[in-house]
Amino acid sequence: MKVIAEISRWAIPMLLLIIPLMAYLRKVPVYEAFVTGAEEGFKTGVRILPFLIGMLVAIKVFVDSGALEIVVRLLLPLFTRFGLDPDLTAIIPLAVMRPLSGSGALGVATQLINQYGPDSFIGRLASTLQGSTDTTFFVLTVYFGSVGISKYRYALKLGLLADFVGLVASVWIVSRVF
């Protein structure tokens, strides 16, 4: 694990060193090439702005109003009917929030970790879940939006299926390992 952590600590400085150096050795006008590439960053940022705002507004209204909580409460009996441990229900708000909003999910996860303790079952499960699924809905809308695609076909279903598998796998592995 130490090795992996070291790699991630050194990755960016090394890339910043090696890429310009290699380019220079290959006679690329390094500064000019960098600036040409960087210009695209601005255009892309402006292009995704409306999609970011549209999604963030809807998600924040949905979450802050308490509508998300109601959805979670409606889901509860469903989970217990499938014979799931009632302890697990603490994780549902995180599971519902995760595909929607990165900062929102991090907030819920942080609260769970602090409330139950980082080394409790719920704390470990919340940590694993937060680290292992992505803000699928958000990523899809912004990525597709940035290139002007309006018909997603089966992309959303596939992404949410992967999230669900991540959830089930997290519950299974955390209850087995610890």
Binding site: M1, I4, I7, S8, I19, P20, L25, R26, V28, A33, F34, G37, A38, E40, G41, L49, L52, I53, L56, V57, A58, I59, K60, V61, F62, V63, D64, S65, G66, A67, T110, N114, P118, D119, G123, S127, L129, Q130, G131, S132, T135, T136, V139, T141, Y143, F144, S146, V147, G148, I149, K151, Y152, Y154, A155, L158, A162, D163, V165, G166, A169
Partner: protein
């Protein structure tokens, strides 16, 4: 589908706020979220310019072509519709590598770049191409080696072993990614048949 979900989130949020007598929360949330969107985009512009600048350097130095050639047998299996010399390959590989290493802010610029390249090869510019869907499925379910943010939160909460969830995270993301690849493959081959 997105239109419907977007509308449902707004309607249900406003209705719940109205019923619980906190309708003003909608106003603050909506305005705050709009501001936040600009903040996120501006931050992203900075990071994105940095990474796309570096990527341009790597491209002109021929590094991207070398990396793409090394990984292309594996990547081409997942993306049969992409041509061998496609510039999308390099961006896809960079995006997945950044995701695996947990470099979230480097992943986005490469991801958006990959989408632009894939869009150039898309015969129907309004409809998601199979390669795009495969890419996004991989992107959102990708194996994570270092969940750095969560480790930070656990550290602050005085965990005895903040990094003990690395193994479970790798397992869970591995499962999600495997299922995403298999299901995507099945959907694609069924649609072709």
């Amino acid at each position: 589908m997105v239109n419907l979900i977007w509308l449902l989130m707004l309607i249900s949020g406003i209705c719940v706020a109205a019923v619980t007598g906190r309708i003003e929360a909608v106003t603050t949330s909506a305005l705050k979220a709009a501001e936040l969107g600009v903040e996120v985009a501006i931050e992203l512009i900075g990071v994105m310019s940095l990474w796309l600048g570096l990527m341009k350097l790597a491209e002109e130095a021929g590094l991207i072509r070398v990396i793409a050639r090394i990984f292309s047998p594996f990547i081409r299996l997942l993306f049969p519709s992409i041509k061998a010399e496609s510039p999308a390959l390099g961006a896809i590989i960079l995006n997945l590598s950044a995701n695996i290493l947990g470099l979230g802010n480097a992943a986005t610029p490469f991801g958006l770049k990959a989408m632009q390249e894939l869009q150039k090869e898309n015969p129907q510019p309004e409809v998601a191409s199979p390669a795009m869907i495969t890419f996004l499925a991989l992107n959102t379910s990708c194996i994570t080696l270092i969940p750095a943010t969560v480790i930070g939160v656990r550290l602050k909460a005085n965990s005895l072993n903040p990094t003990e969830i690395i193994g479970t995270t790798i397992f869970a993301t591995g499962c999600a990614m495997t299922v995403a690849i298999i299901v995507d493959f099945l959907i694609r081959s069924r649609r072709k048949a």
